[in-house]
């Protein structure tokens, strides 16, 4: 998994190597300084040579400055390569995300995708930026110090053969046990955050049903759970320090005991004993540092796992079966189409749907809430993939078109419409990136958006705000239609996209569409009968099945469901 993550270093790899180089050479200089120091005391001071003292002193300062330069270099390079990795990961995730179909997105849920792209990546990049130094430094320190210790006294160094495995074993045990605890802790944190989030968004519901106490009770439960798991995780992590001290103190005592004996027997000098002790400290310290890095790595492993999950997810809809063809006419055929969102779901959302739309026809679709009208039309541009059966455009299965060409030819105005932050012009240009003002105006005229755009303070340069908060619902719907028209599509799908537009304007849009764009196939999903009554054909959906098809008059004469819908709206229409 880490291998996969680290493969995204790409061009930042060289900075990684530079960091390693800087850190290692910096450690070497740091190791030289105490030796120079020893020379000052043992040779300079002992020999009374002032010039020697100053020379060595200057050498020390020189080494210190070199270490400084290398240190700054390592900090810089570590930052570059850690943040570079982060940027590459985010980009890779984002690209992957764009290739996802909706079933992939449903699988992760939107909120979790956002954290996977943001805080999880931040975790990884900070671990790399700050972990790379101790990771490179401690092995160098460990090796050099062990070598030194051995060169001073081989027999005494045997103490390490007891101390190191003991410490290593203890640290390993801690890391081994703490890992699952961190995972549990993450789950508990998610639960706490979820309840807080829900209470913030649904504050009106909580207050109007006076469920504050109930929510507090719910929260206290997950909160206590979080406390317990994090207490366990942190307590185990905190075992690090005493374990380390335990081993270190034991080592010091044994070295004094055996070393003392050796000094007594005469196989070792006192100076060597003290020098040996300082190396012991260094060795154990570097082990300690390594274990701290491992702890950090353990915590970021959870993030790495979540990122990898996104990166390895297989996009459900691909261009695997496509050929280089484009939609020419906009003829649509459903051939015994079945659909369900998840393979394991027991019932189909759409069952056995078959119909045929000629190019240039206008089709209305009506049906109850939850009768899968939106799902049906979303199969045409392959937002979802039909589970069984075949959908053909211009006589060829949709799978044979490259997704890009298919969606270029099919414009869809969604039920849940979104405008993005940016100006009106930028939003409309989603439809056509290089659209001229004349084209924009023309599209807006057809969608009846021109009349209120003129009234906007800065016209096409009006800022929309996130989600298009600066225009009313009806205005937003008309802008979304204009945006879709700019694509100059072969097929236009309007999914309940004039519900907030008054009936008079709606009729005007409808007639302009028919007049100005006669060759475009139009599919209109609507609640109001008045929106579809002029269509060439009307489809009636009920519980995911096609329950009738025909013109307004035919259906009114023969179809019970259609009659009921008509009845429920009649009063208003007849006034």
């Amino acid at each position: 998994m880490l291998k996969r993550i680290f493969s995204y270093f790409h061009s930042y790899k060289k900075y990684g190597f530079l960091t390693v180089f800087c850190v290692v050479s910096e450690s070497v200089f740091e190791l030289i300084i105490p030796l120079l120091m020893a020379d000052i005391v043992d040779i300079g001071v002992a020999g009374g040579d002032k010039a020697y003292i100053f020379r060595k002193g200057l050498q020390m300062v020189f080494c210190a400055l070199l270490a400084l330069i290398l240190g700054i270099g390592s900090a810089r390079f570590a930052a570059v390569c850690g943040q570079g990795l982060g940027a590459e990961l985010r980009k890779a995730e984002y690209e992957k995300l764009q290739s996802f179909s909706f079933s992939n997105i449903d699988h992760f849920r939107v909120s979790s995708l956002v954290t996977r792209l943001t805080s999880d990546v931040t975790n990884i990049q900070n671990t790399v930026s700050s972990g790379i130094r101790p990771v490179c430094r401690s092995p160098v320190m460990l090796l050099v110090a062990t070598g030194m210790a051995f060169s001073i006294n081989k027999n005494l160094a045997l103490v390490f053969f007891v101390a190191l495995p003991v410490l290593g074993f203890l640290l390993f045990q801690i890391i081994l046990h703490v890992r699952p605890l961190y995972t549990k802790m993450q789950v508990a944190i998610d639960a706490v955050n979820r309840i807080v989030q829900e209470n913030l968004t649904a504050v009106r519901v909580v207050k109007s049903y006076v469920r504050g106490d109930y929510e507090i009770e719910k929260f206290d439960k997950v909160n206590a759970d979080l406390k317990n798991t994090s207490e366990r995780a942190f307590r185990l992590t905190a075992m690090n320090m005493p374990a380390m001290q335990f081993v270190m103190y034991g080592t010091i005592l044994s070295i004094l005991r055996f070393g003392g004996n050796m000094v007594h027997v005469g196989t070792m000098k006192v100076g060597e004993l003290t020098g040996f002790l300082s190396y012991v400290m260094q060795i154990l310290n570097s082990l300690m540092m390594m274990s701290a890095v491992f702890m950090m790595l353990t915590r970021s492993l959870a993030s790495a796992k979540r990122i990898t999950e996104v990166l390895v997810e297989v996009p459900e809809i691909t261009d695997a079966d496509s050929e280089e063809i484009a939609v020419e006419r906009g003829e649509i055929e459903f051939d015994h189409v079945y659909f369900k969102y998840k393979k394991e779901a027991p019932e189909y959302v759409l069952s056995d749907i078959s119909f045929h739309i000629e190019s240039g026809q206008t089709i209305g679709i009506v049906g109850q809430t939850g009768s899968a009208k939106s799902t049906l039309v979303q199969l045409i541009p392959r937002l979802y993939e039909a589970t069984e059966g075949c959908i053909r455009v211009d006589g060829r299965p949709v799978r044979q078109y490259p997704v890009e060409h298919l969606r270029d030819a099919i414009a869809m105005v969604l039920q849940k419409n979104t405008l993005f932050s940016g100006t009106l012009r930028e939003n409309l240009r989603w439809g056509k990136a290089d659209a001229t003002d004349a084209e924009l105006e023309e599209a807006c005229r057809i969608a009846c958006a021109d009349e209120f755009i003129d009234r906007l303070e800065s016209g096409f340069d009006t800022e929309m705000g996130q989600g298009g908060v600066n225009v009313s619902g009806g205005q937003k719907q008309r802008l979304c239609i204009a945006r879709a028209l700019l694509k100059n599509p072969k097929v236009l799908i309007l999914d309940d996209s004039t519900s907030a537009v008054d009936t008079a304007t709606e009729a005007k849009i409808r007639s302009q569409l028919a007049e100005k764009l006669p060759n475009m196939t139009k599919i209109i999903i609507a609640q109001r009968i008045s929106s579809v009554r002029h269509a060439d054909q009307i489809l009636i959906l009920e519980d995911g099945r096609l329950c009738g098809m025909g013109t307004h008059e035919e259906l009114l004469a023969s179809n019970g469901i259609y009659q009921e819908i008509y009845e429920s709206q009649k009063e208003g229409a007849e006034l």
């Binding site: 001071v45 003292i53 997105i105 792209l117 335990f246 990136a433 008079a504």
Partner: protein, 615 residues
Amino acid sequence: MPRYVGYKRPKNTKKTLKSLLHYFGYYKWMLALVALLVLISTSANLLGTYLLKPVINQYILPGDIGGLIAALFGMGVMYLCGAAATFGYNQLMVKTAQKVIKKIREDLFAHVQKLPLPYFDAHTHGDLMSRFTNDVDTVQEALNNSFTLLIQSFLMLSGTITMLLVLSVRLSLIVIVFLMVMFASIKFNGKRSRRYFQRQQAELARINGFVEEMVAGQKVEKVFNHEKADLEEFCRRNENLRKASTGALSYSGMMIPTIVCLSYVNYAVSACVGGLFTLAGLFDLGSLASYLVYVRQSAQPLNQFTQQVNFILAALSGAERIFEMMEEEPEVDEGDVTISRVRKREDGSIQECPEYTGQFAWKKPDGTLVPLQGQVQFEDVVFGYVPEKPVLNRISLEAEPGQKLAFVGSTGAGKTTIINLINRFYEISGGRITYDGIDIRDIRKRDLRLSLSMVIQDTHLFTGTIAENIRYGKLDATEEEIRRAAKIANADSFIRRLPQGYDTMLYGDGSNLSQGQRQLLAIARAAVSRPPVLILDEATSSIDTRTERLIEKGMDAIMEGCTVFVIAHRLSTVRNSEKILVLEKGVVIEQGNHEELVSKKGRYYQLYTGQFEME
């Protein structure tokens, strides 16, 4: 290991510290115990280094092995105490910290429940959320580690400086000067990198905003083949973030090498000057050697000390934000009229009773009972979300018990505002609202709200099963009641078709259901609570007209005997109301029943015939 924080300094350190200490409550002595244990542990460490010299001089050099073993045994006991103390303070600190953090989260959440609605309007969810996540986290980190490390490094630092002073006051001046230089450079560097971190934070927010908007608008992106353009924009922001955070980390990463370098220069200068001193006979060789050991040790605790101070400051500014929120004024609730379950006596008078009879009465503070009927009256009500901009201007209206009252009008006319005043989500700034003749400000809030049931414009569901979501309306509802409510809302049929029926889990605000299905559930939730007053704010806007017809019968059953307030932009929903009020810019411009208003040929007529846009 450095942790990186881009914090702001707390504004009122003393006060925040006091509130935080207050949280330790009777754990305060725990903190004292922890401090004591840190003292023991650090002393054992320092003493161990100090004892090396006498052990070598007194036992090893003379070859007194028996004495050596005895001395080592003594040191062993001391070390054991030290390690045990380390174990003790770490465990105690984590335990105490987690208890305190739990209590803070608990209190924060409980306080959030008490805050009035305007507070939620004025703060974004992200902002409020971050108090629960980021701010609580920094406090937790600081409590877990920084407190003990701060004491420890302080002890180490002062211990080392003391030893240096004991060995040579004059030589120590060099060290003290260098320590001051180090301290200054840490402060300087901290200030600069803080600026970089703030820029990084801003860039991070920018990219997060983009990702959130784009993930939410995925369908539109796909439909328009807009992936490439978005990827470009993403890459641009990504690159900006990378640059900003590389800068921030480079600066903060420079801190350690700088300190290390300074400490070596310090070391070199001390060695040279010390050497000269020794040559001049002011110092002996052994003392110089151990003096230099202490010099070498001095930089590390200083570095740690300043680092921990920074973390604690960051934690305090987090704590400050948490306490700020806790100090926000809760909703005012001075009402003392409550609701009681009552039974009718044979003579027609009413009597309190413990069981559910379906009949309620207001219980005034003096004990008198007034039967709850559901009459609501507005008298010259004035209200604005901000005082300068009144949204409602002297609104007067009356709903008789059992009457259905509808509000129509364009977006922003003040329909939703009116009903948000009945349950006191917002406080009126003028006039009076009465409920069965009682000023609603005299009614205890929970009783007031329990007597009203609301289905609001934006449907919100909770993570949990469908049954649990419906039960939200009445916590002790039986399976039977839930099913009946679902049937009334016409939700039963789609629920039964879900994989696990009523036990199907809903996640993320019910995102696995369609908008219409969610509204049906919200209606079921209201149906199960059966209150005397029902408020429907665009409750059926996403439900098709035929289904609405189907629900209507059920709705009629719920509404029977209820006073009902309805807001709808679909006029078929409101036309059978006893009274329809047409609102425009916070004023009632037309009033009457459907027939009256149609024959008036005014604004209602225009709306009804589609000549005028609703939203």
